[in-house]
């Protein structure tokens, strides 16, 4: 995110904004795209867009909602345009695994395996299901807000969420 680091001093507010929201935006992109590298790229684009908006005097009611909305749209665009993504193969490496230090080697291996299974299932969900799961469970949006953002009915959002949760639970060995 070098482009943001060279901000002039008068944009300190934006620097704070960036520091406050970067991790959240990155996580949202990572969840929707299911790819850490692409998520980094898209998050960079999102903050660039946010900076242009900020510089032109734009001040949304809530930056977190604004950024999440922009992130969802940017990720959707990326998924639509990246036809070559399928060609590159699936994402299967977990190089930022955070094992808890108090866990034994066996527990860590189990934890890692669980993470792999969950990510595998998560990656197989439809983009829509990933969006809904991320907004609902990680961003804390209500069903009504998610439905309004994605242009769906509330019933449809609930259905997508239910299917996503069912699939993810299968990933941890819970057949329903």
């Amino acid at each position: 995110m070098g482009k943001v680091d060279v901000l002039p001093l008068e944009h300190d507010d934006f620097r704070d904004l960036y520091a406050e929201h970067r991790a959240r935006v990155l996580r949202l992109c990572r969840l929707i795209l299911a790819d850490a590298d692409e998520a980094e790229e898209v998050a960079q684009e999102i903050f660039l867009k946010a900076f242009r908006f900020y510089r032109s005097g734009g001040r949304p009611e809530a930056w977190n909602k604004w950024l999440a909305t922009v992130a969802v749209n940017a990720c959707r665009d990326r998924l639509r345009s990246s036809w070559w993504r399928r060609w590159r193969g699936r994402t299967e490496e977990f190089d930022e695994f955070k094992a808890h230090s108090h866990h034994s080697a066996e527990e860590s291996a189990l934890q890692r395996e669980t993470q792999r299974m969950v990510w595998e299932k998560f990656g197989r969900l439809s983009a829509r299901q990933r969006e809904i799961f991320a907004l609902r469970h990680f961003e804390g949006w209500s069903t009504e807000e998610v439905a309004a953002q994605l242009g769906l009915s509330q019933g449809s959002v609930k259905q997508h969420l239910f299917r996503a949760v069912r699939e993810l639970r299968k990933g941890i060995g819970k057949e329903l």
Partner: protein
């Protein structure tokens, strides 16, 4: 409400969107309360797993079968194109000196055998016979627009 809750209803209760009768049932049914607890625990585990690990793209060494297949197909297509390009304009058989190949007889007058949708088959045939067997000098090798043919 006496019937146990469906998984979807349980999820709605978990997300705080359960109906009042479903919530009342949860308070009175130990089985459903236990299932809700299990759902909560599973979702915590899933959330932690998704929070903790970052999937990354495979390296170059991790090429999948489909990528190899695509690369090989692309290489074959390029080779075929390059081969075709290099052979363009070249004759396939070089004839020895002195050997001549009979040229295909040129088409004679096409005026008489033009096919028309409105023309009956017999007329086309008659025109063909006239052209082929009883043709005048104009339909021969000479110039049909030359003197005497107008």
């Amino acid at each position: 409400m006496n019937r146990c809750l469906s998984e979807q209803s349980l999820l709605q209760c978990y997300t705080g969107e359960g109906a009042s009768d479903e919530l009342a049932h949860l308070r009175s049914c130990l089985a459903c309360a236990g299932r809700l607890k299990a759902l909560e625990s599973d979702l915590n585990l899933i959330t932690q797993a998704l929070e903790a690990a970052l999937p990354r793209r495979r390296g170059v060494h991790g090429w999948s079968f489909s990528r190899w297949r695509l690369a090989i197909s692309a290489a074959a297509a390029i080779a075929a194109f390059a081969g075709g390009w290099s052979l363009r304009g070249a004759s396939l058989v070089e004839l020895p000196v002195g050997v001549s190949v009979a040229r295909h007889a040129p088409v004679r007058s096409t005026a008489a055998i033009q096919v028309s949708a409105l023309e009956p088959a017999s007329a086309i045939y008659a025109a063909y016979v006239q052209d082929e067997f009883g043709g005048d000098s104009c339909s021969d090798m000479s110039d049909p627009l030359g003197p005497g043919c107008q």
